[in-house]
Symmetry: C2
Subunit: 281 residues, 2 copies
């Protein structure tokens, strides 16, 4: 696996591939890779001639007091996993090269960013849209892969791609879960043993609402109550939001007549966990 | 000359050129073409295999009370000029296609936008950066051409290109002037006959400061006074700014030790006119 750390070298390589008409798949990550990331990489490898993965813990998407400093960095392990899968190129930009002195152009994210994570994490999505657009410009991919676990992030990015006509094909890939249902996340390693035990209730709460939905319950308030009761019964009381929304606009839906998504964010100890499930006819 | 009005067709054509490895030059305009625009087009034709010109009066860069509605639209004349020069493709997007319902992703311009035109025309540069980035994504050019008359716009756009690593080569082309020195501008046609006469003093004021500079005057305050006095002596009193700045950061320079640019914006009647001149050793 080739490694590039310089932004200009990365773009030069990407232009080379472009001139060879190679179909390039791109998976941007912040490292601390798990099976969720690897599912994106495998999808890219299966459908492209060249696969680029980036690892860059992007300071612009962390707020003050968030976990930028302590975000897990497991580079050696990440390298081994990507190498074994057969990734062609790993892009590892430095912070100083990516955000050079005086950097001050940002992408103002679409309105779908102004809810949920966007209200709880000021400027988070502005950091995400900016880093992702610049990574696209440096890697010039045909296909880009993101995980559904960060559902709102997928909505923000796919809207940005449409609004600005970025010449990439966006792919949202299903959540990969631990055996007990917990959605894979780099932040799961923050959980203590007892919190980890408790965390299984998050996906279980979503599945309980899904079961009710599949048994014919179409009222949002009832489905939300089923999931909320489940969380509380299992000792999860710090729920940032638990909501049923339209998958594109992320506006709330009361009576379900078309596909929706049930989104949840909850705190267990000091760790925030996100999960979601599509409710489809 | 081919014409395309659909954004998706434009991008499809651009991808086609990309797969043929064609070097594409791009000149974005708002129409009402004059010799200044044509000099950009000629430069593009001379250095690229394919030249695309766009005409799009971009609502996002006009503020409330500005001249979006009355901005000169001279399409028939524009078409004839571009056709005669041998432009390959004219891109004429509609407002509804370019800014589809719900469009809400914008480019927050770099700090160099927060002065001069940026303070006088709120959100103007945000409209410019957004339209230009999207036009780049639709036309996928190798080289892009802008006129130095809008010096700050050039600084904003070239900084955006650097910050976001947009894969295009930026070219700032010299101001084209009328015989009496007035910088060509689509808005010159707003001038009454007497105002048009007066307007020649703007470039003449710059040339008088330049002459002093070339005779060894390196103090910004003196050069500014020479130009300001000239304007006032010739009946131009509404000077929005007249300033000597660093060409990249547009921060003010007092004693000149390296290349600078003298920028001016003044009102004659209801028309705002911009001009500038590089002072180089």
């Amino acid at each position: 696996m080739e490694k590039i750390t310089s932004c200009s070298e990365m773009q030069q390589q990407a232009r080379q591939w472009q001139s060879e008409q190679k179909r390039v798949g791109f998976v941007p990550t912040m490292g601390a890779l798990h099976e969720g990331h690897l599912s994106l990489v495998k999808e890219s490898l299966a459908h492209n001639e060249t696969t680029v993965v980036s690892i860059f813990v992007n300071p612009a998407q962390f707020g003050p007091g968030e976990d930028f400093e302590s975000y897990p960095r497991t580079l050696e392990n990440d390298l081994a996993m990507l190498d074994q899968l057969g990734v062609d190129l790993l892009f590892l930009p430095s912070q100083d090269d990516f955000y050079q002195d005086g950097f001050s152009t940002y992408i103002e994210p679409p309105v779908v960013a102004n809810r949920f994570e966007g209200t709880l994490r000021k400027d988070h999505f502005r950091g995400v849209t900016t880093v992702v657009l610049k990574l696209f410009m440096l890697t010039l991919p045909t296909n880009v892969y993101f995980g559904q676990k960060d559902f709102q992030q997928c909505a923000v990015l796919s809207t940005m791609i449409d609004d600005l006509a970025l010449p990439v094909q966006f792919h949202r890939m299903p959540i990969v879960r631990e055996e007990d249902g917990l959605a894979m996340s780099s932040r799961n390693r923050y959980l203590s043993e007892s919190d980890r035990e408790k965390a299984r209730a998050i996906s279980a709460a979503l599945f309980s609402a899904q079961a009710a939905f599949e048994n014919g319950e179409k009222e949002g308030c009832i489905l939300r109550k089923i999931a909320t009761d489940y969380l509380q019964k299992h000792g999860i009381h710090e729920i940032d939001y638990l909501t049923i929304v339209d998958p594109r606009s992320l506006t709330e839906v009361e009576t379900i007549v078309t596909d929706v998504v049930l989104l949840v964010a909850a705190r267990i100890g000091t760790t925030r966990l996100l999960d979601n499930i599509l409710l489809t006819e």
